[in-house]
């Protein structure tokens, strides 16, 4: 978790005042906001923050942009404390039929250096009193760094596209759906946009748009009877050699190629390797990055998994048959420029229930808001679906 230093907080406030000079807080809330920003996991910092909240929650409405700015570079925990204070301040004003500082909040919203959640809250507060806000502001948010704000604009693009007769204006409708598809980061909107584009006969590459890895090398099964495989470091954990064969659970095994054609990158091991129970399989991929960068490695699996990137263990989820979801486990990691290695261990247990037979996973590489990061050697279908591209 990152917390801003006092100097960084001062910079954040300086941004605010440089863009919203009209905001004049009745009281300097800096000491109280600093105490709230100092809240840490496991209840650390709570005593000071509890006292500070009483003061901040009673602040004048003019202080709202300053209060919300305290979310900048703060943790999700702090964002919730700050949000609650801002809502309490705003509610008093609204209950008295008094205006919120709409102009300052709109300047805050437009300054993308502020935290995505702070800007989202500003948008919600503006919308409470300015009935024109949504119509004015939403079209400007299609590529916003806030996923919540971007979603509003994608929804508008989808609605606009749906309102067009595809018989008479197929090209216009397709263009709107393409823009929505390229901008969408929420799964439901990606599904709607891709389905509509397919209906219109457009090429759509969902795995590329989302950054799913589709080409894997698989090695298995190794033994996991009694779940012994979870803590057993089989050969791939000591070093991947794609040319070697190994003694597996039921005989000699070697790496096999597997390419999934699933839109969401699901690799069904029960189909690729057979329905082994009490078994471990490794999946390996190489990923060529154009530059060093932080990356999310977002995994979904209904089985127990361990994930290594460049030999470093990023995640271990010893959970069997409790559902599979896209982005179920998000591991923060680093890509280095050039070749990177991704190794996944997928463990199946011996449960006999019908619902406990699945053995599968899906993995994508993306940035913190879900924009795909693609391996530079990925075979690419040139469509408008490519991240950041709006035209063919």
């Amino acid at each position: 978790m990152r917390l801003l230093s006092c100097s960084a907080a001062a910079v954040a406030l300086a941004w605010l005042f440089s863009s919203a000079p009209a905001a004049e807080p009745a009281h300097d809330l800096s000491p109280e906001l600093a105490k709230i920003r100092a809240v840490q996991p496991k209840g650390d910092g709570h005593r000071d923050a509890v006292a500070a909240m009483k003061k901040v929650s009673q602040a004048d409405a003019a202080a709202l942009p300053i209060v919300i700015a305290a979310m900048d570079d703060s943790s999700p925990l702090v964002e919730n404390w700050i949000r609650a204070a801002a809502e309490a301040i705003a509610q008093k004003q609204v209950d008295k039929n008094q205006p919120l500082p709409l102009a300052q909040l709109e300047l805050f919203l437009k300054d993308t250096r502020h935290s995505p959640r702070g800007r989202r809250l500003a948008f919600e507060l503006i919308s409470l009193q300015d009935k024109t806000a949504q119509e004015r502001l939403i079209p400007t948010l299609l590529n916003d760094p806030s996923v919540e704000l971007r979603r509003e604009a994608v929804k508008k693009a989808l609605d606009d596209a749906a309102s067009i007769s595809t018989k008479e204006n197929k090209e216009t409708a397709a263009k709107l759906y393409q823009n929505a598809f390229a901008a969408a980061r929420d799964l439901d909107q990606i599904k709607v946009a891709s389905a509509k584009l397919k209906e219109l006969g457009e090429a759509v590459d969902v795995p590329t748009q989302m950054g799913f890895i589709t080409g894997w090398k698989l090695l298995g099964p190794f033994d996991n009877v009694g779940e012994v495989g979870w803590d057993t470091a089989y050969a791939p954990e000591k070093g991947v050699d794609l040319t070697k064969s190994y003694a597996g659970q039921k005989g000699e095994i070697s790496w096999v190629d597997h390419t999934t054609t699933d839109d969401f990158g699901i690799v069904d091991l029960a189909k690729a390797l057979d329905k082994h129970k009490g078994a471990v399989t490794y999946a390996y991929a190489e990923f060529v990055a154009d530059k060093a960068q932080p990356a999310d490695f977002r995994l979904g699996s209904i089985n127990a998994t361990k994930l290594w990137v460049n030999g470093k263990e990023l995640a271990a989820n010893h959970v069997y048959h409790a559902g599979i979801e896209i982005d179920q486990y998000i591991a923060k990691g680093e890509l280095k420029a050039g070749k990177n290695t991704i190794l996944l261990k997928v463990c199946q247990n011996e449960q006999k229930e019908v619902w406990a037979q699945d053995w599968k996973f899906q993995l994508r590489v993306c940035d913190k808001i879900g924009s795909a990061i693609l391996s530079t050697d990925r075979p690419v279908t040139r469509t408008s679906a490519l991240p950041g591209k709006n035209v063919r």
């Binding site: 209840g43 609650a84 559902g323």
Partner: protein, 403 residues
């Protein structure tokens, strides 16, 4: 000396403005699903005895609670995962929404489509509301919606969470809010200070999925213990220190929760196991076991000499609390998630399709239940307060009261 001072000041710190009619937590202030002598209408449907009906945001299978003239309920929303958390307060007389606070979940938000992130029922000590979510976010607000503190237990313990969804409701006792979070990734029970949210204690539990809620044991001497029910054991703890008072090893159900009345604990285990136990017992004794009284999703309800069980086939069974014998059975219909509530002479059972069954209490098999349709799904356990039944349906909060 310091210890003596603490003993003196603790009751003052946690003094509350409790009203006898409050319904402070899952299954009520006494945690027994009983609204006492409160007289409720027996005809309940979407067009009968509806005092008000207010729309709710998002989703939720958490039940409402009532503190004085305020009704609190939680909800969750989100386009893909329900990562937006809502705590709402309504005026009990008019149904007007008094305030609405929102937060961003910090823990795991996945759940089965029938459930929601807002699955646990909130709790209150009469001064503060403690809203807990499947994502292990725990929010403490005063009754006017001012945040007192916020804990992200999913941040603290990131492997805690079941992607089918968690549902254990918090319990407040002895100045501690007690939560239980058990899954394959992490499993614990913890007590947090009601005033600061700081952790008073944490106990590791055996890894594995569990949806049962902590239960309140208030024995005949008035001494309180918290019962924590896991798949293989029931343990009793001092609320504020977490110190284990006693334990009973057995194979427990992991959805319905134990109900304690006087010096008896009705434990969903091997059907139903009844323990003779108090808050100071060192070793509980088994009074009886019956596999004919096997709770489905709803927890046992005890009224006088009878225990009422809703099983997974939708059959309401009445048993004798002293012998465990079955007195009568009444087939209702459908699937039940909500634990029934008792008011006056009736038990109110509502199935997941929103059909209400009002059944007369007593050792003799009653006449056919009085039924009515709400027209919306009901998975949340209702609240009873001041002559009214408060219901959370799929999209609304309802107050049912006689004219």
């Amino acid at each position: 000396m310091r210890f003596r001072y603490s003993l003196l000041i603790l009751p003052l710190l946690f003094a509350t403005n409790l009203h006898a009619a409050d319904w402070l937590q899952f299954r009520g202030s006494e945690n027994r699903s009983t609204g006492g002598d409160t007289k409720l209408p027996t005809e309940i449907s979407s067009d009968k005895n509806v005092a008000w009906k207010s729309p709710l945001v998002g989703k939720g299978v958490s039940g409402p609670i009532v503190v004085g003239k305020k009704v609190f309920v939680t909800a969750s929303s989100g386009p893909v995962v329900q990562d937006r958390l809502h705590v709402l307060c309504f005026d009990a007389d008019s149904g007007k929404q008094l305030w609405h606070r929102q937060f961003w979940a910090t823990g795991r938000c996945f759940h089965h489509p029938t459930s929601a992130n807002a699955a646990p029922t909130p709790a209150s000590d009469g001064q503060r509301v403690y809203a807990f979510f499947s994502s292990n976010d725990l929010v403490c607000l005063d009754l006017d919606g001012n945040l007192q503190w916020y804990r992200g237990l999913g941040t603290d313990y990131p492997k805690a969470g079941n992607d089918v969804g968690m549902s254990s409701s918090p319990l407040v006792a002895g100045g501690a809010v007690v939560v239980q979070s058990e899954s394959q990734g992490d499993a614990f029970a913890a007590g947090l200070d009601v005033l600061t949210g700081e952790t008073l204690w944490r106990e590791d539990r055996k890894l594995g999925p569990n949806w049962a809620s902590p239960a309140l044991l208030r024995d005949k001497e008035g001494k309180e213990a918290i019962l924590i029910q896991s798949a293989t054991v029931l343990t009793a703890h001092e609320p504020r220190s977490g110190k284990q008072i006693w334990k009973y090893d057995t194979s427990c159900s992991i959805i319905p929760s134990a109900t304690a009345v006087g010096d008896k604990v009705f434990l969903p285990a091997k059907g139903l196991t009844v323990l003779e136990a108090t808050a100071t017992t060192t070793s509980p004794e088994v009074a009886w076991e019956s596999n004919k009284l096997s709770p489905g999703n709803s927890s046992p309800v005890i009224v006088g000499d009878q225990v009422y069980i809703l099983n997974s086939a939708g059959v309401l069974t009445c048993g004798d609390v002293n012998e465990g014998t079955v007195l009568w059975q009444q087939r209702l219909a459908g699937k039940f998630w909500a634990t029934p509530v008792v008011a006056g002479e009736h038990i109110y059972c509502i199935n997941d399709a929103g059909k209400c069954f009002v059944v007369k209490l007593g050792a003799e098999k009653p006449a056919e239940p009085i039924t009515g349709e709400l027209g919306e799904a009901v998975l949340a356990s209702p609240a009873v307060s001041n002559g009214a039944l408060f219901l959370r349906t799929e999209k609304h909060l309802w107050k049912i009261a006689g004219q």
